[in-house]
Amino acid sequence: MTAKPAAQTAKGRSVARRVWSVVALPLVSILLALIVGAVIILGSELVIPGQAFDPLLPARAYIALLEGAIGLPPALNPLVSTLVATAPLVLGGLSVAFGFKSGLFNIGAQGQFLMGAIGAVAAAIAVSGQPSIVAIPVAVAGGMLAGAIWGFIPGILKALSGAHEVVTTIMLNYVAISLFAWIVAGPLAVPGAPSPITPDVGNAAYPILIGRGGHLGLLVALAAVGIVAWLLYRTTFGFEVRTAGANPDAARYAGMRPRVLIVVTMSICGLLAGLAGAGDVLGTQHHVTSSYGTTVGFDSIAVALLGRSNPVGVLFAALLFGAMRSGASLMQISAGIPAQLVDVLQATILLFLVATPVIQRLFSLRGTKTGIDAPGTFTKTYVSGEPTVG
C-alpha cells in the first residue's frame, strides 16, 4: 500500500498534464506570433529609410501595447476600455465556438453581428418613448432575434438541402452588409441628415456601470459565458450538440435528430452573434451609420479557435484580442508602430493554431493523444473544420 501516495502524485501530474495539453498550444502560438511580430517590426525598420535602427523597437512596441491595454501601472480606464473591446468578442467567440461544438463552422458571425446591431437599433427606435427597464430588454431581444434569423437561414438550408454552412454563411455575410446599408440609408435613416445615420437608441442604451464607458454589456457577455457553458455541459440539449459534433453517426444511432439540431444550433450561433452586435450599438455606438465598420464577426473565429471552443477558453482568448485592439492606438502613438500590427499578430496566432501538427512536432506537445490516433485526428480535423480537436 506504499503505492498510494505515488498514485496520488501521478494523478495530480496527470491533471496538470491535461491542463497543459489544453493551454500549451494556444500559449505557444501566442508566443510565436509575438516573435514573428518582432521580426516584422525589425524588418520594417530596415526597409523604411531615414530612421536610425533601433533593435529594441519591438520591445518598446509591445510595452506600449501593454500600457495601452491595461495601463502601466494598471489603471481603471484602460482596463475598462479593454473590457469594452472584449465583450463583443466574447459573444462572437461563443457563437463560433457553439457551432464548432456541434461540428458546424459558423463563418457567418459577421453577418449575424450586423443583423443583431441593426435589429437592436430598430427595436430601440420602435420603443423609443419607453423607460429603460422596458426599452433595453426589447432592444436586446430585437438584436438577438435578428441575429438568430441570420443563423436560422443557413441552418434550415443545410437541414433541407445539405447546403454547406461555410458557403451559405459567407454569402449571407455579403447579403447582411448590403441589407444593413439599405436599412440605415432607407427605413431607419434620420430624414434630412447629410449622410445616412439612424436615430439614437435613447433609453435603450446600456447604462454605464464602471469607469469610462464600462457598460452593462460587459455583464451580459460574462453571463453568456456561464449560460453557454451550462447549456453545453448541463443540459440534454448540450449533450446532443456535443454528440453531433464529436460523432454525427453516433448521434443518429442514438436517435438524436441531426436536422433539428443543425437548425437550432445555427439559430443559437446567430443569436449569440446578434447579441454581440446589439451590445456594441446599445453600449458604445448608440446609433449606426452606413460606414459602420467592424470585424468582430471575423475576429470571433480566431477567438473561438484560440479558446479551443471552450466557453471559458473563449473568454480568455477574447480578453487577449480585446486587449490588443484596445492597446493598439497607444502603440501607434508612442512607438510609431501602425495599429495594423495587431491584425498581423491575430492572423499569425491563427496560422500557428491551424498548423497544430507542425507546432506539436516542433515542441513535442503530444497532449493526451497517443500517436496511434494521429491519422484519425487529421481526417477528423479536416472534416469538422476545427483544427483543435481537444
Binding site: T236, F239, A250, G255, T370
Partner: protein
C-alpha cells in the same frame, strides 16, 4: 531468461525484441517482453485485449518508444523512429482498426505515404494500379483500384490494408486480427497467401485471439498475459484449452452451454424488405424473415452481402425502399432510431467506433448515449449527473468493464472494454429485440465467453435476438436458426443445431448448390 524452443534449429532471427518494457501511467503495458521471429516463420502473438500485444507492435512500428529493451533486425540493434522508418526497414503493419482514408480510392490509399519516400517526384498512378491488380490477382482478391474506400464494406477494407502491406514489399509483416471479418474460405485464402509469403522468406507476426487459427497457421506461438510473456509453444505440442488457459490465466469454457430455446411469439417480421446502400443500389433484395421471442436467429454471410444494410433498416438508420417491418404486431416500417429504441429494440453495431460510441466522451456519457433524455438521467432539460454516474458504476461492475473510473475518456479503454460499454448499455434493460452485428469482432476469448453467456441469458429471458456475424463459428455456436444471406437474399434457413459448417460456408460463398460457383465472380467487385 530465454524462451528457446527445443525442436527447431534456429537460424538468426529476422526480428528480435529483447526485454521490451513500456510503462503508462498506472500500468505496465509491456514487462520485459522477449520475442524473436525467424526468416520465413509465421509467429503468432496470442493474448487478451489489453495484454500488451498492440503496445508491443506499436513499439516495433515506431509509434511508441520503449522505456527499456532493444530491437534487433537481422542481428543488428536498431532504433525505429516512426512508421516511415519502420516501413523503410521493411516492417509493415495491418492494423486492427483500419487506417484508411474513406474519401480516397483504393490505389490512393495504398500509395498514401509513398510520396514521402525516396523516389521520383511523381507517382505513376497507372503503374500503381497495374501492380495493385496484379497483387490482387496473385493473392485472390481482385479489387478495383479506383473504388472509393468509404464505399467498401469492412471486409474489403481489410483486404485493402493487407494489399497495402504487400505493395510495400515488407520483409516483416505484422497482421493484427487479419481474419476477424473474413469467411472460412477467405481465411483459407489469406492463410495460403501468408504461407506463400513465409516460403519466400518473409517473417510474419500474426496477432489473433482465435486459438484454432493460430494453431493452424503458426510455426510458433508466444502467449502474452498482462504485459508478460507467459509461454512459447509449438502448435504440435499444444491445444486450444492449453492456450486459452495460458492466455486468460484460468480455465475457460470455449463453447457456451446454450441449452434449449423456447421460442414464443413472433417479435419481428420482415416481409419483402428491400434496402438500398449509400450509392443507391439495392443490396437487400426482398428479404422475408421472422424472429421469435426467446430464439437466436443467426445471419451468416460474407461481408458485403447486404447484412449491414438490413440491420440498419431494422434499427431505423436506413429507410427501406420497399417491404414491411412489423414489431410486436405493429407496423414500424421507416420509423427512426429513437422510435425503435423506445419500442424495445437494442442494437450492438458492427462498427462500434463509428456508430456505437463517442470516443472523446467518458464512459458514463457513452453508457447513456441512447437514454440520456429519459428519467432518471434527465430531469426536464437538465442532465442528472449523479444518476448518470450511479448507473454507470453499476453497469461497469455488472459487465466487468475495466476502466480507471466512469469518468475516464472512452478512447483510453481497450477494444474489448469499449465493446463491453456498448454491450452493457444495450443489454441492460428489458428488450423485445436485440440486434447484434459482429458482437465479438476483435475481442479476446474471455470477453467473447462473457458476451456469449450474456446473449444466451437474454434469449432465455425471452428476448428475440438477431445475430449477424462474419464469424461462422459464432453463428453456429449461438444460433437456434441460421439464415444464410447471399447477394441481398436469404438463400437458406437451417437449423442451428444440425447445420454443417462446410455446408453453410458453401452457401455463403455460392448462394446455393444450384448456382454455378462462377456466378459469384461477377459479384466480387461490387
Amino acid at each position: 531468461m530465454t524462451t528457446e524452443s527445443p525442436s527447431v534449429p534456429s537460424p538468426a532471427p529476422a526480428l528480435e525484441m529483447r526485454g521490451i518494457t513500456k510503462r503508462y501511467p498506472g500500468v505496465v503495458a509491456n514487462d520485459h517482453i522477449d520475442l524473436d521471429v525467424r526468416p520465413g516463420e509465421i509467429h503468432a502473438l496470442l493474448g487478451e485485449n489489453g495484454a500488451g500485444k498492440t503496445t508491443l507492435m506499436n513499439i516495433l512500428y515506431g509509434l511508441a518508444r520503449p522505456d527499456e529493451g532493444e530491437i534487433l533486425l537481422d542481428g543488428t540493434p536498431v532504433r525505429i523512429s516512426g512508421p516511415s522508418d519502420a516501413i523503410a526497414r521493411g516492417i509493415s503493419m495491418v492494423h486492427q482498426h483500419f487506417m484508411l482514408v474513406p474519401v480516397l480510392t483504393v490505389a490512393e490509399n495504398i500509395l498514401l505515404g509513398e510520396e514521402t519516400m525516396a523516389g521520383p517526384v511523381f507517382i505513376d498512378q497507372n503503374e500503381a494500379r497495374k501492380r495493385i491488380r496484379e497483387l490482387g490477382k496473385r493473392f485472390h482478391f481482385e479489387i478495383d483500384p479506383d473504388a472509393k474506400v468509404g464505399t467498401l464494406s469492412v471486409g474489403w477494407q481489410q483486404r485493402v490494408e493487407i494489399l497495402k502491406a504487400l505493395y510495400r514489399q515488407a520483409q516483416i509483416l505484422v497482421l493484427d486480427e487479419p481474419t476477424a471479418v473474413l469467411t472460412p474460405q477467405e481465411t483459407e485464402e489469406i492463410f495460403a497467401v501468408l504461407r506463400r509469403l513465409a516460403a519466400e522468406g518473409h517473417s510474419i507476426v500474426f496477432i489473433s485471439h482465435k486459438l484454432y487459427e493460430v494453431l493452424e497457421i503458426a510455426d510458433r506461438i508466444t502467449v502474452i498475459r498482462r504485459g508478460k510473456v507467459v509461454g512459447t509453444r509449438l502448435p504440435a505440442e499444444t491445444n486450444e484449452d492449453d492456450l486459452a488457459e495460458l492466455m486468460v490465466g484460468r480455465e475457460v469454457q470455449l463453447t457456451v452451454d446454450r441449452g434449449d430455446s423456447h421460442p414464443a411469439d413472433v417479435v419481428i417480421r420482415l416481409e419483402g424488405l428491400k434496402v438500398a446502400d449509400d450509392r443507391g443500389s439495392e443490396v437487400v433484395r426482398s428479404v422475408d424473415l421472422e424472429v421469435r421471442a426467446g430464439e437466436i436467429l443467426g445471419i451468416a454471410g460474407v461481408a458485403g452481402n447486404g447484412q449491414d444494410e438490413l440491420v440498419e433498416a431494422l434499427v431505423g438508420l436506413r429507410r427501406p425502399t420497399a417491404g414491411k417491418i412489423t414489431l410486436d404486431g405493429r407496423d414500424v416500417t421507416g420509423k427512426g432510431p429513437r422510435h425503435m429504441n423506445e419500442a424495445g429494440v437494442a442494437f450492438v453495431p458492427a462498427d462500434r467506433q463509428r456508430f456505437g460510441l463517442v470516443l472523446t466522451f467518458d464512459v458514463a456519457d457513452n453508457l447513456v448515449l441512447t437514454s440520456y433524455y429519459r428519467s432518471p438521467y434527465a430531469r426536464g432539460i437538465l442532465r442528472n449527473e449523479s444518476a448518470i454516474e450511479a448507473a454507470a458504476k453499476k453497469t461497469v461492475a455488472a459487465f466487468d468493464i475495466r476502466t480507471p473510473s466512469v469518468r475516464a475518456r472512452l478512447s483510453t479503454l481497450s477494444g474489448g472494454n469499449q465493446q463491453k460499454v456498448v454491450v452493457g448499455r444495450e443489454f441492460d434493460r428489458t428488450l423485445s429485440l436485440l440486434i447484434l452485428d459482429q458482437p465479438t469482432r476483435g475481442l479476446d476469448v474471455g470477453s467473447i465467453e462473457f458476451i456469449h453467456r450474456r446473449t444466451i441469458e437474454q434469449r432465455d429471458a425471452g428476448t428475440a435476438i438477431l445475430l449477424v456475424s462474419a464469424e461462422l463459428d459464432e453463428v453456429l455456436e449461438l444460433s437456434d436458426r441460421i439464415a444464410v444471406m447471399y447477394r441481398g437474399r436469404v438463400v437458406a434457413i437451417l437449423d442451428g443445431r444440425t447445420a454443417d459448417k462446410n455446408e453453410v460456408g458453401l452457401l455463403m460463398a455460392t448462394g446455393g448448390r444450384e448456382r454455378a460457383p462462377a456466378a459469384a465472380l461477377d459479384q466480387a467487385s461490387t
